[in-house]
């Protein structure tokens, strides 16, 4: 096996060659060894590591110009406000949204979805209505809707998927014919790697006048997203999955809908005028950003998008596809290993089980070999129930991963077999 850090860039067909060694050099955390082995970080679907540009941007904010935003007349407050709003513009451009008024900063994808469930849902959903999701949702795109249904007497409907992990479009279409008030689906499944046909699913819902929320937590770092081309009403994602810091999420929403929706939380910064009799709310996007936000980390998200744009998402997608194809082929060679999720359109991750070995034992053994993966139900217990397994092991890729790292993964999995004699 060749040295981990002297990798040759894989051929990214049609998108030019990526210098992965140079990209890796941007990530201080990747230089370490764990348990005496080079760190092979393949838990990117849970959270991705941060390039130095992001760490520096946050550090520069706190050491150079930090103050509260939208309030002070002093220089630091003005500088912080400008940097914060510049990050909003970067997110707008990244999603190709029409206006920065359509970009709301939250804590994470979960809060973005809860905002829509609470504000839009509370206004538009009544007893007898239905919310349609898919069977491959993360808990964060299930539980907020269950809470909404409990509050309103609406029903949660679930579109099923095939054994390969592909949504059954006929069933989805049939369910759309119910009294559905909102469709919410995952763009890229964190448990299966399935890439759902977002544009088609949105068109089918729109043909019946139903608005759509897309959970983009997993898709956002792997493929270019254009919310105007998708035409979704809402798109939610987290900064920490796209090389940014934890603690920041984004909700994109179409302006007309956001304007008609009531505030999610009340407090400072979301008001125009407060008296004890009545409060006038601020305009978008401030209406949905009550209280002091996560200023430095929003700025960190802006730096992450700059960093990623410099590489280009098409090149990222091509590199990760090469890795996924290579990993899938290698894993298939291991007897007793079963890949869960074999959709035609897949991205960035491979979930699997091994005969006679629980995923947690796989995770522990791999960890001692320096390979970090996720083992468990991936906050998608209904998916586990669908396949009748308690848990799976999951290797998920980012731009900095290499073929050599896939080889480390595979070698470690052979050690699992050796130890368990399976």
């Amino acid at each position: 096996m060749s040295a981990l850090h002297s990798v040759t860039a894989p051929s990214a067909s049609g998108t030019g060659e990526l210098d992965i060694a140079r990209i890796r050099a941007d990530f201080p955390i990747l230089r370490q060894r764990v348990h005496g082995k080079p760190l092979v970080y393949l838990d990117n679907a849970a959270s991705v590591q941060k390039p130095k540009a992001v760490i520096d941007a946050i550090s520069e904010c706190y050491s150079g110009y930090y103050a509260n935003i939208h309030r002070g007349v002093h220089l630091l407050s003005e500088r912080s406000t400008i940097a914060y709003e510049k990050a909003r513009e970067k997110v707008r451009a990244f999603l190709n949204a029409a206006s920065t008024q359509e970009i709301i900063f939250t804590r994470n994808t979960t809060e973005s979805i809860n905002l829509v469930a609470s504000s839009f849902g509370g206004q538009a959903v009544k007893a007898g209505d239905e919310i349609l999701i898919t069977g491959m949702e993360h808990h964060s795109n299930i539980v907020p809707w269950q809470l909404l249904c409990e509050r309103t007497g609406a029903k949660l409907k679930v579109a099923p998927f095939t054994d390969a992990g592909e949504l059954i479009l006929e069933e989805y279409e049939r369910l759309l014919d119910g009294p559905v008030k909102l469709v919410a689906f995952v763009h890229l499944s964190n448990a299966l790697g399935t890439l759902n046909p977002a544009k088609q699913l949105i068109e089918m819902a729109h043909a019946r006048g139903i608005p759509v929320l897309v959970d983009g937590a997993q898709s956002i770092p792997h493929l270019a997203v254009d919310v105007r081309e998708l035409d979704c009403e809402f798109y939610a994602f987290s900064a920490h999955k796209i090389y940014g810091p934890s603690g920041v999420g984004v909700l994109y929403g179409k302006k007309a809908l956001l304007e008609a929706m009531p505030p999610y939380q009340g407090g400072g910064d979301m008001i125009r005028l407060v008296t004890f009799e009545k409060t006038d709310y601020a305009d978008l996007p401030n209406k949905f950003e009550a209280g002091t936000p996560n200023i430095a980390d929003v700025i960190g998200l802006g730096a992450a998008l700059d960093w990623l744009n410099a590489i280009g998402l098409d090149a990222v997608a091509a590199h990760e596809h090469t890795l996924l194809d290579y990993a899938t082929a290698q894993l298939k060679e291991i007897p007793g290993l079963n890949i869960m999720g074999t959709a035609r359109d897949k991205a960035a991750l491979v979930a699997f089980t091994m005969q006679g070995v629980h995923p947690h034992d796989i995770g522990t053994i791999l960890d001692r070999e320096g390979v970090a993966i996720r083992a468990g139900h991936h906050c998608a217990q209904p998916v586990m129930q669908r396949y009748g397994v308690p848990a799976t092991a999951r290797a998920s890729f980012a731009i900095y991963n290499t073929r050599d790292e896939v080889d480390f993964l595979v070698a470690a999995l052979w050690k699992v077999k050796e130890l368990f004699g399976s």
């Binding site: 629980h358 947690h360 034992d361 001692r368 139900h377 217990q381 308690p390 848990a391 368990f420 004699g421």
Partner: protein, 147 residues
């Protein structure tokens, strides 16, 4: 690999592959489920208690090698023991899997799980079945969690 052998000792791998007392007692006097919310693992324990003595004990469920082997070894250790001893044994076992203490002699085969102490994230796996037994003795109706 060698340090992994400290965790995955032959006895553990054997009990994982061929768990002892792995069945449902037809008419248990005590029963409880243990759930590890972290991983979704679930273990059910069944006890037949007469005159304050565990006459029979069994378990069922799906879990990792550590939780399965620990449950299996626990049933062997507890069968025939007065229930007054359960708490004492659990405490001694807990110390073994969480601290650098010397293994008390009375623990017998249970001490093969001492390697767990170097894997803090796996302590809950090793203690899941014990939590369930404790819950069964306290006659909990709800599934007990390790959290």
């Amino acid at each position: 690999m060698s340090d992994l052998r400290d965790l995955y000792q032959e006895v553990i791998l054997d009990h994982n592959k061929r768990p002892r007392n792995f069945r449902i007692l037809p008419q248990p006097t005590h029963h409880a489920d243990g759930v590890n919310p972290l991983c979704g693992d679930r273990i059910s324990v069944y006890l037949d208690i007469e005159d304050e003595v565990i006459r029979d004990i069994s378990f069922q469920g799906a879990g990792c090698a550590i939780s399965s082997a620990s449950a299996s070894l626990m049933t062997e250790a507890l069968k025939g023991k007065p229930i007054a001893e359960v708490e004492h044994l659990f405490e001694a076992f807990h110390d073994v899997v969480t601290t650098d203490c010397e293994c008390p002699k009375g623990l017998g085969k249970l001490s093969v799980l001492a390697g767990v102490r170097d894997y803090p994230s796996r302590v809950k796996c090793a203690t899941l079945a014990w939590h369930a037994v404790r819950a069964a003795l306290e006659e909990h109706k709800e599934a007990v969690a390790t959290e």
